[in-house]
């Protein structure tokens, strides 16, 4: 079905293009001027995008191939891929990578379940719909650093209301396991609303008639969720999970405030920051940044491959 619709789209494209071919040559003076104006109007935006994204990325790649430490200016030299070798053979990188993956997988999984629950709730709310949606979005509206500080105070012994619930003498932010759990908790608290919002948009795609028909046919709530709602929401789920995974992989603010990466809780972004802005080692730091960039790109590709081409509008029953 999806193949057919794809082929149909392609053929209509061809159809529209074929007559476009000859007209192109005979484009009227006015039309050409209009198109040139269009290009001109787009140009500033396109140039700015190239300047603000392509240039820094290119510069980071160039830096990552150098030995470049601000404190040893005389030793600056081209070293090829040796910075990458240094990073990839360092225990610190793999420790940070493991921590980052752990945070990403656990927090996105929890966020998905909670976000779906919230989305279903918001979808069904009958009274004060706007108020409920606003209230649920509050955590997402709070600046991450501010929220992280309040979590930090909450979990600090003697000061925090959450730490007071624990046995005396426990300092949860100073232990690897509990500190990581707190970081994940802060991430989940902060971004579940975002997940819920994206999933809510997906829920709107599910026709009520279909659910009613299924109900008449005897499908229970769980069957309706897994057989109808989730498959139909697949494009929205892909987008939500992809966005959140890419975000979670770059986790920085919460860790920076809550633990400063101590006790082995640093993420890859923290490692990059420390090497760039504490050690002033632009070569190694840039290599870490480029590796993070590659990881994020790989994750995105992996997601799209895993979910198939579940782009918005494709066949909901998809493959299994």
């Amino acid at each position: 079905m999806s193949l057919q619709s794809g082929a149909l789209a392609a053929s209509t494209e061809q159809v529209t293009q074929r007559p476009g071919g000859p007209t192109k040559a005979q484009m009227s003076e006015g039309k050409r001027a209009e198109r040139n104006l269009g290009l001109l109007l787009c140009a500033p935006a396109a140039i700015i995008i190239v300047l603000v994204t392509a240039y820094p990325i290119g510069y980071a790649i160039w830096l990552s191939l150098q030995r470049y430490d601000l404190r040893f200016p005389a030793e600056q030299a081209f070293v090829g891929l040796s910075n990458y070798v240094t990073v990839l053979t360092s225990g610190y990188w793999w420790q940070a990578f493991g921590v980052t993956m752990l945070i990403t997988v656990i927090s996105v999984a929890i966020e998905f379940v909670l976000g779906l629950a919230l989305a279903l709730m918001m979808h069904r709310t009958l009274v004060a719909r706007g108020l409920v949606r606003t209230v649920i979005l509050i955590p997402y509206g709070i600046v991450t650093v501010v929220a992280a500080f309040s979590w930090q105070f909450a979990w600090t012994p003697d000061k925090g209301y959450l730490a007071a619930l624990l046995p005396t003498g426990s300092a949860p932010l100073t232990d690897f396991g509990s500190a990581l759990a707190i970081v994940i908790g802060a991430e989940v608290w902060k971004t579940t609303p975002f997940m819920a919002l994206l999933l809510l948009a997906g829920l709107a795609l599910v026709p009520d008639d279909l659910l009613k028909a299924a109900q008449v046919d005897g499908a229970g709530p769980w069957q309706r969720l897994t057989q109808i709602i989730l498959p139909m929401m697949k494009p929205a789920i892909l987008v939500a999970l992809l966005f959140r995974t890419l975000d979670a992989f770059r986790v920085f603010d919460n860790i920076y405030i809550l633990t400063q990466g101590s006790n082995g809780t640093g993420s890859v972004s923290m490692l990059g920051y420390d090497n760039l802005f504490k050690a002033f080692n632009l070569g190694i730091g840039s290599a870490i940044s480029v590796l993070i960039f590659i990881c994020v790109a790989l994750l995105a590709v992996l997601f799209i491959k895993l979910f198939g081409a579940a782009a918005p509008g494709s066949e909901p029953s998809g493959r299994r």
Binding site: L70, R71, F72, T86, S90, Y92, K278, F280
Partner: protein, 452 residues
Amino acid sequence: MRGPVHPGRRRGRRRPLIAGACAVLAAAAIAGCSSGATGPPVLNVYGPADGAEQYSAAAKDCTAASGGRYSVVYQTLPKSADDQRLQLARRLVAGDSEVDIVGIDVTWTAEFAAAGWIEKLPEDVAAQVRQGTLDGPLQTATYQGALWAAPLNTNTQILWYRKDLSPTPPATWDEMISASERLHQQGLPSYIEVQGAQYEGLVVWFNTLLNSAGGQIVDEDGNVLLGRGDAAQKALSVMQRVAASPASDPSLSVNKENDGRLAMEAGTAAFQINYPFVYASIHTPPPDGGGGGTFIDPQGKPTSADTGRRVVDEFAWAPYPSVVPGQPAKPTIGGINLAVSTTGQHKDLAFAAIQCLRNRDNQLRNAVEGGVPPTLSDLYTDPSFQAKYPAWEAIKNSLDNASVRPLTPGYTSISIVLSDLLNPPAAIDPATAVPMLADEVQGAANSEGLVP
């Protein structure tokens, strides 16, 4: 969601927004123009936020004293040292010509000098700066045999203790550890408060113990000396024993200077290694200070009942405990040095200004009002200084035996690596840790590999 969209309402709002944006831009443009006013050259001093009030007052006085040659403005950097260093580095790397003088932590001298961010002091200025200045602080401003900065103030740790719990102060770490364990067995306050968190303070503790035992982390050229002799092993053994003792503070591995002060004021600590600010703090009423600390019962335990006796009544100080009996400890010194940036436009005036900013009057004000010990040795005999610092003799003693942290450009990396490897201190294995430490420090000193 099904409610109507109001495109008109949004468009209506846009106009005041644009007007507002224009107003802001216009204001910025006008402000930009007004800075080009005529007058003597402005020298910007970028320095730490702590003590900014005193430094600003000094800047005002120096402007007046210059007789119209220059005017000095103090620009406050962030509170945390890492943030200060980062902002200075960003400005200096970018060639900010508005940065004339920088107030830098003593550990950054070598790094800023090697990176080409600060100017060497000219011979005549260096000679004047050396005159009457304590040796330790001068060493922190020296790199490769030349003076790169002028010591503005210094800081050092001494032992603060409870004289009801330990009538004679321990002279060595061994004595202190056994005294603490004895107190613990008697059920009395027993904690030894020292900086055990994973940060610079932990490296300061290690550096002091190592130097006191006759060792050194690394020399100026980046040669690692940690593995020579048994000094490092002695130092690590002290750290491990303090942290792993049943009498120690359970949160020692996350404690910084302020946590030690609070534990002492709360009556749970018997000993504390800390800077002189703890004396001012315990004598300051809440909420700014400890207000004399908590009440203590006749045995010395903290109590909520009004016994009429507080921690402050038993609060005393002594020289930093030594590692090798009979040899005085070599406490690591901190502080701020003033240097002239390579990006400023009025370097001669800047050299004149740093001498004014660190003159006797200004250092005395920093000491008395800001709580930071001066670098001019004759101020220690000044009655107004001694009145404010009853512990001045112990402080001076610490400064005279001072050790400095490695004067090498890679110091920050060394510190990050060391604080990572030494935390938590209770988990150190003194017998096997030294070769690994030496190896990691070597990499950091040459900026090879990653920092955690």
